[in-house]
């Protein structure tokens, strides 16, 4: 069984044991390391993609990214 299916089954089991709410049943599981995930998680203008916003541990700030996006848009 693929790892994503394995995780999905574990979550479904937790639902069937009454441990987590029913809305968790058949959750969508995606491999974030997969390049397909990275390219398709947001279908917006490239400039507004979340990937250009720094993560919490980045040295950038939103203000800096905004400056960057200004530069790249020119």
């Amino acid at each position: 069984m693929n790892r994503d299916n394995e995780i999905k089954q574990e979550i479904n089991q937790a639902v069937s044991k009454g441990l987590i709410p029913v809305a968790f049943f058949n959750s969508v599981v995606k491999d974030t390391k997969c390049s397909k995930f990275k390219s398709s998680n947001l279908k917006m203008n490239r400039r507004y993609r979340q990937t250009i916003i720094p993560r919490g541990y980045s040295n950038l700030t939103v203000s800096k990214v905004y400056e960057l996006s200004q530069l790249t848009s020119k």
């Binding site: 709410p21 959750s27 969508v28 491999d31 974030t32 995930f37 279908k43 917006m44 507004y48 916003i53």
Partner: protein, 323 residues
């Protein structure tokens, strides 16, 4: 000065707001929870005044656009995942205290959305919506299989389940993302799987629909996107679902004056000057209220439907700041 409060990750709707502020040469400042948490930006609070990089926010700020504040799941402190998660919880709690202080301290500023109702309660809102005249699909919150079976039969086997509030994404240690936000139809097979008593869950009557609406609301005006959710199988139950081949099409639409008027009434009752509302247009030609989110995603809907929502917000922020 216009203040934008947002997070480094987990939100992208503020970027276009910042674009417009910059293009219109507004006097603005952006603060993120993460930026001040780790000291990249200087913040001091002393004698009831807030200084950010030596700017006295308590005196300078005239209006605040609030999106989100901090994304705890993105903060990496140490490799031990469990300890990292527990430390994150504390850091987020600390930062939420600061956010509350900003709310309390910058009381003279105009807040969009207003201070307080950001954390709306979905169940209370369903009841409020019904009381002011919206159609609201019947719902039940229960942890009992007997109750669920009765609700299922009452609604002729057509019910859905979703979070009572909002589920956050969860990530496994080996990099898999678990997304549980989507609405699911509940059938007999799923009910049979459940034990007699299960985790408290939300169930609602499934409304057979023509399509959905995402209505962006700001200052008594509705900017509406029609979601053509029924054009394909994937998006029929939850229009947010998408894969490489399919996603729901969006088109701008004008809603009726009656619906718009009731939305204004509803938002005023909630003391919200902005928010995102979700509606269904049923096969019975009735409009059904689903929920409102004061800081819901606006960017994608506004851009794909050319609603220019962000520009109108920015023009109002500038107007307030120039007063």
């Amino acid at each position: 000065m216009i203040l934008i409060l947002t997070t480094q990750a987990g939100d992208y709707s503020h970027i276009k707001i910042i674009d417009w502020l910059s293009y219109l040469k507004a006097n603005f400042l952006i603060i993120t929870g993460e930026g001040i948490l780790n000291g990249r930006e200087k913040l001091s609070i002393t004698n009831g005044e807030i200084f950010y990089n030596d700017i006295n926010l308590s005196k300078e700020v005239t209006c605040v656009f609030y999106r989100r504040w901090i994304t705890g799941s993105e903060i990496r402190i140490i490799d031990d995942e469990e300890l990292n998660t527990n430390l994150n919880r504390n850091l987020v709690a600390e930062m939420l205290e600061i956010r509350t202080f900003l709310w309390n301290n910058l009381k003279n500023a105009i807040w969009i959305p207003e201070v307080g109702p950001v954390s709306v309660n979905k169940l209370s809102n369903l009841d409020l919506a019904k009381s002011i005249g919206f159609n609201v699909p019947d719902y039940m919150v229960t942890n009992s299989k007997d109750d669920l079976n009765r609700f299922f039969l009452k609604n002729e086997g057509k019910i859905i389940t979703k979070a009572i509030g909002n589920f956050q994404n969860a990530q496994t240690m080996d990099g898999f993302l678990v997304n549980s936000i989507y609405t699911k139809q509940v059938d007999t097979t799923l009910i049979k799987l459940l034990p007699e008593k299960f985790a408290l869950s939300f169930f609602q009557k499934l409304i057979e629909k023509k399509h959905e609406y995402r209505i962006l609301y700001f200052n008594k005006k509705c900017y509406s996107a029609l979601i053509l959710s029924q054009e394909q199988e994937l998006t029929k139950i939850d229009s947010r679902l998408q894969d490489e081949d399919a996603e729901a099409r969006l088109v701008p639409v004008d809603i009726s004056e009656k619906l718009s008027h009731t939305i204004i009434q509803f938002m005023e009752k909630l003391n919200l000057n902005t928010g995102c509302l979700d509606f269904l247009h049923g096969l019975d030609d009735k409009y059904y209220f689903l929920e409102v989110n004061p800081v819901g995603q606006i960017g994608g809907y506004s851009e794909r439907c050319l609603l220019n929502f962000e520009k109108d917000i920015v023009l109002e922020l500038i107007r307030i700041d120039n007063e």
